[in-house]
Amino acid sequence: MTVTHTPTAGPATPSVEKTTYREAMREALREALRTDDRVFLMGEDVGRYGGCFGVSLGLLEEFGPERIRDAPLSESAFVGAGIGAAMAGMRPIVEIMTVNFSLLALDQILNNAATLLHMSGGQLPVPIVIRMTTGAGRQLAAQHSHSLEGWYAHIPGLRVLAPATITDARHMLTPALADPDPVLIFEHGSLYNVSGELSAHSGPVDIDRAAIRRPGTDVSVITYGGSLPKALAAAEDLANIGISAEVVDLRTLRPLDDATIGDSVARTHRAVVVDEGWRSGSLAAEISARLTEQHFYDLDAPIERVCSVEVPMPYARRLEEAALPQPAGIVTAARRAVGEPVPTGADEGADAGRSS
């Protein structure tokens, strides 16, 4: 995966429009369908139902059932079919309702999509885009709440994206479709209703680069996707007690942008990694290891990790909240990293995963 994506520069005075993450994603799909005949959207309930999260609402009317293709409950079959269509020159966008159900298609994603180019000695690229939701926070219990994007980030041959902002939701799809290799896009379920302003002329996102969402000098809070708003909230709280946190949004979970992450830590000398996945074998573990390998002498404190507690996600609200990374836990971790005293009790729940 050595393609570089150059973002096109927008005009100097961009106008802004109010939108939501969901609508931004829909607009991205619409643009892709409009500009490239090879693009089609396929998945469970993407058509008549409008997508189980309402992302593709209205697209069936606009583009018809050939291109907005309702698939049966056969994740392995329709993901595999998407892979085949991609090999035959199409540009399928396959939607899997959630990462939990993607496991029924894992064989196709790993053993075919990620592998065919290599196994065929470079003959068979698979230009497919697979979108799915991820994450917890809506009391949907274990089989609808896990964050498994870190597993996909383990797999060579895939590019893994996690749009955390409205602009990324709007503009990541174009470079994803331009990528000759399989791209997975993870949309955190709690982001769809987020509303905000989108610059009407913002261009495609550079999917090789992480983004600094808030500059700071004392500690780097490294995160992605649904945890970005929590990290920003924590940074706000930290600012109130005089700690300047820099928030780094990974955006691309594979390949990781070592340079941006490393530069930030080289400046702040401290790192807190926030990841909704479980701590053991997590993406947070990988980032921590890389920082240790590459920036050991820049670090002034042990790297902190704020992850989900190692338990299948519970239904009961209090238990779910306790299992998930929360701003308070990020604040505590950042305080510890900068050597500020941590109020007693602040540790509880926020970091229970440490012990397991």
Binding site: E44, D45, G47, R48, Y49, G50, C52, D70, A71, P72, L73, S74, E75, S76, A77, N100, F101, L104, R138, Q139, L140, A141, A142, Q143, H144, V309, E310, V311, P312, P314, Y315, A316, R317, R318, L319, A322, A323, G349, A352, S356
Partner: protein, 341 residues
């Protein structure tokens, strides 16, 4: 509905006629599911119940009729639309309600919610929210019975949507190949979420396709509890007699949206109304009234009794303790003593 009155069993001609008593019991069972879920809707609007919730309203005859063919020793594997299966199986309304409230007294100790009800003691094995996920499990339960020589039936409920999953086809093949004591009950309510049967199945005659695996397969009117019970009894007997897996396609309909999040834009209102004319609960009540087996007084008494039962379940759930956050890591792995006695 008054709850002060002493609950009484309705028993018009039932005293002298065990058949009539049975018919009344079927009505009571279906009404319990209906009223329980209607209360759930209110509680969901009041944010007492959260997460995804899928109602069974319209399909009650299937759970109740099938359960009649099962014994306490048999096993039931269910889906995320399982309130009716759980209640018909005898899981107390109180334990189910507490689970939906996320309380410590819930049948899954607040970990599961509406989609993950479990009761091992009653051999009720959930509560699976991965479409088709329960099918291989059911084959395994049946396999264990086969290998240990226990003459039990494992009954697996799943939808027409699940019929498209590889899980169904792999399980059907395995079960038929090994002659497993499995009762496969497909609840064909004509929709997989928002996708109509004809838009997700190449051949919509599901019983026909199941028969291709060499299983005894029937299509049944799932709105008629007597038809369901009769078919389920014959199928369960066939399974018990060593006839291998049996497949029942229950032709039914859900009156409400797929879940509380679904605005139900993909169905024709006329279609829903048409099916409501075949309401399994009111249809049975009407038949019993016409046969003079159910008086208006008895119906009122029955409604009062169920209302009181559900009131009590809700009150108990309200009062029940929350699972303490310190117990968050409980049940992730078995306690040491369970592993090394």
């Amino acid at each position: 509905m008054s709850t002060t009155r002493t609950p009484r069993k309705p028993r018009p001609s039932a005293r002298s006629d065990p058949q009539a008593a049975h018919r009344l019991a079927l009505l009571e069972s279906m009404l319990r599911v209906r009223r329980f879920e209607e209360r759930c809707v209110e509680l969901y609007s009041a944010a007492r119940i959260r997460g995804f919730m899928h109602l069974y309203i319209g399909e009650e005859a299937v759970a109740v009729g099938v359960n009649e063919a099962l014994t306490d020793d048999d096993a039931v594997v269910s889906t995320y639309r399982e309130h009716g299966h759980a209640l018909a199986r005898g899981v107390p309304a109180e334990a189910i309600m507490a689970e939906m409230f996320g309380k410590a007294t819930g049948c899954s100790r607040g970990r599961g919610g509406s989609m993950h009800l479990f009761d091992a003691g009653r051999r009720f094995y959930g509560g699976n929210a991965i479409v088709g996920g329960g099918l291989p499990l059911a084959a395994g339960l049946a396999l264990a019975d086969r290998m240990t020589g226990r003459n039990r039936v494992t009954c697996c409920f799943f939808g027409d949507g699940a019929f498209a999953e590889g899980e169904f086809h792999e399980t059907a093949n395995l079960a038929a190949l090994w002659g497993l004591p499995l009762l496969l009950v497909c609840e064909n309510n004509l929709y997989a979420m928002g996708t109509a049967l004809a838009r997700h199945q190449a051949q919509t005659d599901l019983a026909l396709r199941a028969a291709a695996y060499g299983m005894v397969s029937w299509a049944v009117d799932g709105m008629d509890v007597f038809a369901v019970e009769d078919a389920a009894r014959r199928a369960a007997e066939g399974v018990r007699a060593g006839g291998g897996p049996h497949f029942l396609e229950m032709r039914t309909y859900r009156f409400r949206a797929h879940s509380m999040y679904d605005s139900d834009r993909y169905r024709d209102k006329a279609e829903i109304e048409h099916w409501k004319e075949r309401d399994p609960v009111e249809g049975l009540a009407r038949r019993l009234r016409e046969a003079k087996e159910l008086t208006d007084r008895a119906r009122t008494a029955l409604e009062d009794r169920l209302a009181a039962e559900i009131d009590a379940a809700v009150e108990a759930a309200e009062r029940a303790p929350e699972e303490p956050v310190e117990d968050l890591l409980k049940y992730v792995t078995s306690p040491v003593e369970a592993i090394r006695p």
